[in-house]
């Protein structure tokens, strides 16, 4: 592999796209998760939970637009192949995102009697979007196989991703609230963790079994040795977080953010494993990132903008999170 621009640019964009997806999964994960947890929360708690994500969700969802946008602009061939193969789940994902996005705003503005309706729609949209994302991940892992086995596996991953998002949501509630709701969230986190762990094991086992090429990437010496930290570290973090759920919340609210950060770390490890499995393919076993990439001169002009803007986005995202830091209070337009 020679290191010239036509080789490097698709690689850089694959990295950027991966980063955008990872940030999206972590950030929108917690607000989708809170939508899922709506099913288990009381009326007053729902208001607090909304207040905990209110200022953030618009920006969180924008990372999905960036991720899909990068797929669209940097790998147009893959964008078409993947999205036409996943037509119905993508459609369901979009319906879910539309429902929850508008329910979020409507529930705060309609007459009080209609609020319950929009709360239910918010839950429904969140769960549909999460399940659709999980299903798409499952189908993608199996190389866009939409046979019966693929669908079953997709359904399993869908449930587990929804659980993982619920865990993220619970962790965010632990960070942003106090009192009874916080205690409740610890219980939610513990339950969701079990399903999340099951899901990660299922995906990890199914991926190499489904693709001999991926099997060969993981189970050869010495790659096995270099890669072993990924599963081992994930398992350790899971076990540790599981133990933590029996001690939270702590006095002075210490470690309130820890569960969220731990889950983010686990997501990152899992994501790294997936990325290693698929590299260099963007459509599993069909299109490599170089085959699917746009012309180098077009990628170069996008990159020029990206290296300027992305750091600014990350910087002011931190700023926004700082402005709305601390425990969630009533969300008002003033």
């Amino acid at each position: 592999m020679t290191l010239d621009w036509p080789t490097l640019l698709p690689l850089i964009f694959a990295g950027l796209m991966g980063l955008a997806i990872l940030i999206y999964v972590i950030l929108d994960g917690f607000d989708l998760g809170i939508g899922i947890l709506f099913a288990a929360a009381e009326d007053a708690e729902q208001d607090t939970m909304i207040a905990a994500i209110g200022p953030f969700w618009d920006a969180n969802e924008t990372w999905l637009v960036l991720a899909v946008g990068l797929l669209l602009v940097a790998f147009p061939l893959a964008h078409g192949t993947i999205l036409t193969a996943l037509y119905i789940p993508v459609f369901l994902l979009l319906v879910g995102l539309i429902l929850r996005g508008v329910a979020f705003d409507f529930r705060a503005k309609v007459p009080a009697g209609h609020k319950h309706r929009w709360n239910r729609i918010f839950f429904l949209g969140s769960i549909i979007a999460s399940l659709a994302q999980g299903y798409m991940l499952g189908i993608y892992v199996l190389g866009l196989d939409v046979g019966l086995g693929g669908m079953a596996f997709g359904a399993l991953v869908a449930l587990c991703l929804a659980a993982a998002y619920a865990a993220m949501g619970a962790a965010w509630v632990i960070y942003k609230t106090e009192g009874e709701l916080q205690k409740k969230a610890v219980l939610w986190l513990r339950r969701a963790l079990v399903l999340t762990a099951l899901g990660m094991v299922a995906v990890s086992l199914a991926t190499p079994l489904a693709s001999p090429r991926i099997f060969d990437k993981w189970f050869v010496w010495p790659a096995m040795l270099y890669l072993s930290p990924l599963p081992v570290l994930s398992a350790v973090l899971f076990a540790w977080l599981w133990r933590q759920t029996f001690h939270l919340p702590k006095a002075d609210d210490r470690h309130a953010l820890t569960p969220f950060l731990t889950l983010a770390a686990i997501f990152t490890l899992g994501f790294a494993g997936l990325a290693w499995s698929f590299y260099p393919f963007v459509v599993p076993d069909r299109l490599t990132i170089w085959q699917a990439a746009s012309a180098p001169e077009s990628l170069a002009i996008i990159l020029a903008g990206t290296v300027v803007v992305l750091p600014i986005i990350i910087f002011y995202s931190f700023y926004a999170y700082r402005v709305f830091g601390g425990k969630a209070t009533d969300l008002t337009y003033d």
Binding site: D58, A59, V65, Y87, F91, K109, S298, V323
Partner: protein
């Protein structure tokens, strides 16, 4: 069923639903900034009440715009893979810049603008408002650049059936881009002006005589009255630009079947594409020649020069007439209202009654205008480069039919809910009048206590 026509209807429905909300947010951001700056300058809390009423509309419209916009970015891939495969090298960077420079600016600062009034200083809050308004406008800039390039593509070369950029400056500032951008920004401003004026008129009809109602009403009416003649001029210039670069579209807009001098202006007709003639025609002699060539003997292009290569005549002809007709109505209503507000300091009840449905006139004109220009681009997706029929994806017709049906139902319900909330918010504001509490504003007019 035919996936091509279903995909086209689906994309058309989607983009029609989507454009309703950017049409509001692009200009409403600046309108909110205006309310805010007036408040900063005068300390008059009525401006802040107007701000808080309309910032809710902004939040709701923004959310509707985001979710329908996400849908669009997916539909390029799910239904039109041929589009990015052919012109991805050009459309890609333009879309990427839209996402990078604009969308993020809006989305991240929106939180501070909407919910941060008590958490940051007034200066930062004003800055966030500026950034959100600037972000929405930048968004529009990039999208209009791409759309205009699809209408009048330049600055590229074809290699192996794929477009490659040769001159980015020419691509962004392509021949129709400045006209379309100005036309759209003005359209958005007029949409918002009429929306504000119409909902304020509704409050007026319900007996609200509060200062915040008057301020919003005057802002809406005067902005509309000033902008509508400018818009008519800008639209005329855009038309002349189209005549130069897309004559077949003008021929369809005017339902002119044969190239020649002394072409009449068709006021009413039912164009019949099979017979290639107009039925029930009502015309002004030499009108089209005078408008388009400024001379009665000016030669106007006809559809006979573009056989098999021109858009469907009926929808383009009528969409254009609906847009122009709405524009004329907007002129009459806004100037009458401005006259009464300026000279008589009152609003006659019948005029207020007319202004309420006119709240949606901007939407109607914007949609009709986009239908004119987008259907007017057919049969091409990118003029002269890619036909719409060649871009459609391999998805089965039944799947597209299913998604289309659900989208249509969903959009109809959401639109009803959205309009319901607008009316509810207006009536609530009418009931509260100048008595609604403004925490953090009344006590200290120019600053807010920052919450811990």
């Amino acid at each position: 069923m035919d996936p091509l026509i279903l995909s086209r209807i689906q994309f058309g429905a989607n983009i029609s639903f989507h454009i309703l909300f950017p049409a509001i947010t692009i200009a409403l951001g600046w309108m909110l900034l205006f309310f805010k700056l007036r408040y900063n300058a005068t300390g008059d809390t009525a401006w802040m009440r107007a701000y808080f009423t309309w910032v809710k509309v902004f939040a709701l419209s923004f959310a509707m715009g985001v979710v329908s916009g996400v849908t669009m970015s997916f539909q390029f891939g799910t239904n039109w893979p041929g589009y990015m495969e052919t012109v991805g090298n050009i459309a890609g960077p333009l879309l990427a810049y839209e996402i990078l420079t604009a969308f993020f600016l809006e989305a991240a600062f929106l939180g501070i603008m909407l919910f941060g009034f008590r958490r940051v200083s007034n200066r930062i809050h004003t800055l966030a408002t500026v950034l959100v308004a600037g972000g929405t406008t930048l968004s529009a800039f990039w999208i209009i650049a791409l759309n205009s390039w699809m209408q009048t593509p330049v600055g590229f070369e074809m290699r192996d059936g794929v477009a490659h950029a040769t001159d980015w400056w020419a691509i962004v500032f392509n021949p129709s881009m400045p006209y379309r951008l100005v036309h759209m920004l003005l359209a958005s401003s007029l949409t918002v002006s009429f929306l504000i004026a119409g909902l304020s008129a509704l409050r007026y009809l319900y007996g609200d005589r509060s200062e915040s109602m008057w301020k919003a009403l005057r802002t809406g009416v005067f902005t509309a009255a000033i902008l509508i003649p400018i818009q008519i001029f800008a639209g005329d210039q855009h038309g002349l630009n189209t005549l130069e670069h897309q004559p077949q579209k003008i021929a369809a807009m005017e339902a002119n079947w044969n190239t020649g001098p002394n072409v009449p202006l068709v006021l009413f007709a039912l164009p019949d594409e099979a017979a290639r003639e107009n039925k029930f025609e009502l015309t002004i002699p030499d009108g089209a020649s005078l408008i388009l060539r400024h001379s009665a003997s000016g030669v106007v292009p006809g559809l006979n020069d573009y056989a098999g290569n021109h858009p469907p005549v009926f929808p383009v002809f009528w969409a254009f007439r609906i847009m122009v007709g709405t524009g004329v109505l907007m002129l009459v209503v806004s100037w009458s209202a401005a006259f009464f507000l300026k000279r008589r300091h009152s609003l006659p009840r019948p005029l207020a009654l007319v202004m309420v449905p006119m709240a949606l006139s901007g939407w109607l004109a914007t949609l009709a205008g986009w239908y004119t220009t987008e259907i007017g681009r057919q049969p091409w997706l990118v003029t002269g480069v890619l036909r719409t029929v060649d871009a459609v994806g391999p998805v089965a017709g039944s799947q597209v039919a299913l998604s289309l049906a659900v989208y249509l139902i969903l959009y109809a319900l959401l639109l009803i809910a959205y309009l319901g909330v607008l009316v509810y918010l207006a009536l609530k504001a009418a009931k509260d009048g100048d008595t609604s509490p403004l925490p953090g504003v009344l006590d200290a007019p120019l600053s807010q206590p920052a919450a811990k």
